[in-house]
């Protein structure tokens, strides 16, 4: 006769979907990408050309007239905001003990971050570098050509 050993612990229930692994991976993939994106961004803005003095509306407008920089900035926006939100979610999970408060804070966090991502993306792609009513001195140089044509 074989001995029946009781199961020392009740078997665990099957979970629904589990995103923790993907969150963890995202932090590690977005991190190195952000290093390249952010430092190139800082270098181009502050060290090339006239350096720190060059940054004004015209400089930003000039960059966003180029699809390359549009996509660069949108990639930075999405990667950094999702990275920051996932990171803050970790911090919230650490410091909240009441499940309701936790859900509320994480919900608020994702709403704010979602709104920022949407607004940011909208601005980058619908940006008008030559608003018709502004002082021409503050606009990028190519606006004159567009205005006279």
């Amino acid at each position: 006769m074989s001995v029946q050993i009781e199961i020392p612990n009740s078997p665990r229930k099957q979970r629904v979907t589990n995103w923790e692994k993907y969150g963890w991976l995202y932090m590690r993939i977005s991190g190195p990408l952000l290093i390249v994106l952010i430092f190139t961004h800082v270098f181009v803005n502050l060290f090339t050309g006239e350096g720190i003095k060059q940054i004004d509306f015209a400089f930003v407008a000039g960059k966003w007239a180029d699809p390359f920089w549009q996509w660069w900035d949108v990639a930075m926006l999405w990667l950094a905001l999702i990275h920051g939100t996932l990171g803050m979610r970790t911090v919230i999970n650490d410091y909240t003990e009441k499940p309701k408060l936790r859900t509320a804070l994480v919900g608020t966090l994702w709403s704010v971050s979602g709104a920022l991502i949407l607004l940011g993306t909208l601005v980058v792609f619908t940006f008008d570098p030559c608003p018709p009513t502004s002082n021409p001195d503050l606009l990028p140089s190519f606006c004159e050509a567009i205005a006279s044509s």
Binding site: N9, R12, E20
Partner: protein, 245 residues
Amino acid sequence: MSDVKEIAEIPSFTVKLSIRRFDPEKSEEASWQEYEVEMHATDRVLDALHKIKWEQDGSLTFRRSCAHGVCGSDAVRINGRNRLACKTLIKDLDINSTITVEPIKGLPVEKDLIVDMNPFYQAYKDINPFLVANDKPEKERLQSPEDRARYDDTTKCILCAACTTSCPVFWTDGQYFGPAAIVNAHRFIFDSRDEEADVRLDILNDKEGVWRCRTTFNCTEACPRGIEVTKAIAEVKQAILRGRP
């Protein structure tokens, strides 16, 4: 003869200890209490605790069994670091200032240096800490020295809880499985004779599983057995990403 006695003399010194006391029958609050004891250079913190209990204050409460770093009963926080009282020589600490001794953090204190270890053991039980092999061999199951070496480090655990209670993530809400449970899962996940690595990997691929580890290295620093705890956790993370050990 008197010469021999002189040579054998061990230097002694007076040390101050500040011990975190808690007695739920007397007060809801824990408080620090100071003691002064005459100790030898060969003495350990456990000897100081004994001396206090036996000679000064019989109410001081702590756990210990083997007194030689084997049973894992006497993990405490000494000068802010998790150590076995029986493996920490007093002379290795700064004896010019007061030595603090308090219970390990993150588990409910029951009295003085004694904590309720049940949540810790529950996390250990949850990872199925036993060999699962369904074949019915006539002889012992063979394993190559290389396969045995794969998980050698994590076989050394004595379940003292020094690692888990040094982990800031465990301190937050005590829901995290904790380093010790992952170390003991590692011991079976990478054992070539075991058949349930996937079950254990699935258990640790959880909201409260390996992904909560933030690579703080407190656990590795705390382990009295010298286990590379953080490395073991990282290996389990990688195994989950691979989908196999």
